[in-house]
């Protein structure tokens, strides 16, 4: 749940990039970090192994500026995708406001995508959360690869809820900001929808 600090008039929203190992979650965050102007972003923190595989998480804060007198900030996190890091993944999901599921489009990675999605549902459940209650989008990454599965196949296997999805090539930034913008809007809308009218 978004943290509202009434005293310092700040709102912090947590968005988590989830998905199987090597699907491009860190690549998304790194691209955002490289392209955003310095006044809008904080430090990119990576807790990674020597081989640059995410060990715990990557973290990037983005400032949206003042919205109705509240300094509004998006905190972007990635989880480590490798199967054996589940304890870390679970921790990162704590307090999540929105999720980007980054799927690897390669046909031979379909099972890993499905497994990771199911693992996400299980981890959310440990916090008493259901995916229906959390805004999320899907990003089909690596669309440029020759062995990329057709979108219809990916959709059928991964997008049973019919949420917004984006085709991406995160290494060159294709689809990266579109994905981020959509999830940011969905989270704000979700928070507003819970407000009494």
């Amino acid at each position: 749940m978004a943290l509202i600090n009434y005293a310092s008039r700040e709102i912090n929203v947590k968005i988590v990039y989830y998905g199987p190992g090597l699907s491009g979650k860190t690549t998304n965050i790194k691209y955002i970090y490289e392209k955003l102007s310095p006044d809008l972003k904080g430090q990119l923190v990576s807790v990674a192994t020597e081989q640059e595989r995410t060990l715990f998480f990557d973290f990037l804060p983005i400032d949206l500026g003042n919205v109705r007198g509240f300094k509004t900030r998006f905190h972007l996190y990635t989880v480590p995708g490798q199967v054996f890091y589940n304890a870390s993944r679970k921790l990162i999901l704590k307090g999540v406001d929105g999720i980007v599921f980054v799927a690897d489009s390669q046909i031979e990675r379909m099972d890993e995508n499905i497994e990771s999605f199911e693992n996400m549902l299980e981890n959310l459940e440990t916090y008493g959360l259901k995916i229906e209650d959390i805004p999320y989008v899907i990003q089909y990454n690596k669309r440029d690869l020759p062995n990329a599965a057709p979108i219809e196949d990916l959709q059928r296997n991964l997008n049973k809820d019919g949420v917004p999805y984006y085709e991406a090539v995160a290494t060159i930034g294709k689809g990266v900001f579109e994905t981020l913008k959509e999830i940011a809007k969905m989270v704000i809308r979700h928070l507003s929808s819970k407000a009494p009218t």
Partner: protein
Amino acid sequence: MSEYKYIEESFKKVETILKKLKETSNSNAVLLIDKAGQLITSIGDISGLDIVSFATLSAADFGATSQLAELIGEKNFSSLYHQGEKNSLFISLVANRVILAVLFDSKTTLGLVKVRTKHASQELEHVLDELFEKLKVTPPKEVFDKSFLKEAEEELDKLFGP
């Protein structure tokens, strides 16, 4: 803003406790962080410190250690101590809700920091319980109304293009 008056009052009490902790423990800075890794407030010299990253990593540190605790049959480790060459860090959990981090150097000792932190934690727990009780009776005015939504969407369009 009068509608947040009672929150501001509690907040001032919290800051007073943190200030006292910093002074009596002779530490350099005290930070209060929520369990999801977001800074609530800080006292002391934090110039040159990336506090957003600091808050995130402290919470992650605490979260990871709690899991370690469970693995050895403990419910939680109530505090963590990281010793550096010059600067050290003492982290503890308050009221099972928030993380209290104390940054200190050789001007003081771990023992003193521990004792003072324990006192401060008890005081904080009292203030936080009081605040949460009040929040139940009088929830704060909703921030995320229609006009917030509209303005936030405009900012996002400005930032990432329409």
